[in-house]
Amino acid sequence: MNMRAEPPVGQKVRVATASLAGCFGCHMSVLDMDERILDLVERVDFDRTPLTDIKTLGPCDLGLIEGGVANAENVEVLREFRRQCKVLVAVGACAVTGGIPAMRNSVPLAEVLDEAFVHGMGLVNPGIPDDPELPLLLSQVHPIHEVVRVDYFLPGCPPSADAIWSLLTAVLEGGALHLTWAQLRYD
C-alpha cells in the first residue's frame, strides 16, 4: 500500500501521539503495522509521542489520541494537542466512547477512591494520595470529543494495524475514512 499524497519536497508530515486514560494498546497496534513503519517514517516525523523523548508539543499536522479523559492532566494534554494539531484523531474505543475505564462511571468517584486507597483489602498505609503533583480525577471518564473537537474517529479495542493504516492513508490524503468490513470492529 502506498500513501499517495506526498508531502511537499523536503517537508515531512509531523505527527504527535498521546495516551490519556489509555492502556498503550493502541500504540502497540500502531507498532503492529510492522515493516510498514519503515515506509511511514520516510513520510512522517514524530513530535511528542511516548515513542520519542520530546517533552513539549510543537505545531503538528496530525495528532493521534489514545484513551479517554479521566483526570485534569488528560484535559490539559488534550487541549494542547487540539491547539497544536491541524487534524486530531480519536484512536480506539477509550478515546471514542470512554471505553472500559468509563465503566467506573457506574460508581461514585468517592467510592472508587475509598475502595482503592482507604478500605480496600491488604492496604498497609491507607489514605487517598493528596500531593498537588498528582492530577485530580474527574468525577467521570469522558470520550475525548466531549472535551475538544475531533476530526476522525477510529474505533476498536484496539483498532487493527490495518485499520490504523487505512486511517493514516485517509488523513494524509485529506479524505474520508473508509474501513472495510474486516477493519471495522468495536472490540
Binding site: T97, H145, F153, L177, T180, D187
Partner: protein, 255 residues
Amino acid sequence: MSNDQQRSTFTLDGRRIPFTPGQTIMDAALAAGVYIPHLCHKPGYAPHGSCRVCVVRADGRELSACTAPAAADMSVESEVADIRALRVAVLQMLFAEGNHVCPACEASGNCTLQAVAYHCGMLTPRFPQRFPRRAVDASHPDVILDHNRCILCELCVRASRDHDGKRVFAVSGRGITSKLIVDAPSGRLGDTDFSAEDAAAHVCPVGAILPRDEAFRVPIGQRRFDLAPVSRVGDVALDPDAEVLAADAESEVLA
C-alpha cells in the same frame, strides 16, 4: 385469478420485489432475500416499530419498513447515502444512551446492534455519552439482566407473552427513564418463572439478557458476526446474490 396475477411488485433500490397484500415492506424484502437493517423486528413476531433502524424512503417519505405495508409499484430506497446516514444517527443515539462497552461485553461478536452498526458503517456514537447507572439483576440462576445495554426493542416482551405464554417482561416508565421490568412483586428476574429454555431468553439482540456460564467460549474470528456481515447471516434466507456478497465481504467498504 391465478396466484401469479395476485402478486404485485414494488421496487427496492431499483430491484423488483414481489409481495402479497398485507405484507410489509420488510416482510416482502426478507422473503425475497434482500436485507434491510433492523433490530426490533423479527420474522414471526408482531412488528414493533421502536428502533427505527429499518427506515426507508418510500415514494419520497421516510418510514419504517417493518410497519409500512407494501403497495403496488411503490418505489423504495434503502441502501442510499442519506438513508444510511439516518440509520447511523439512530444507531448513535442507541449507543450513546446505554453503556455499550463492546470490548468488555460477552455478547460482542454475537450482538445484532453491533453488527448492524458495522453494516451501516458507524465509526463513533458521536453524541455525549449518558453513562446510565442502572442496577444489574443477577438474581436468576441461569440468566443475567443488564439494563445498561437494553435498547427497549421489546423482543423479550413479545417472546415471553406470545411464544412462552408467561408475560415475564414489560416496559415501564416514560421518556428516557423507560426501562424493562419483570413481573414479580420483588421486581427480580429470579422470582419469576422465567427459564433459560424460554424463547425470551434467546431473542435479545444485544447483551442485556445474558445466559450465565457461556461467556467468551467462542474464539474471536468464529463468532456469529465475525464470519459474515449481518446482511448475510441475520434472519435473511440467503439467495444467489447474497453469495456474491459473501465473496466480497472482506473487502466491502462500509464507512
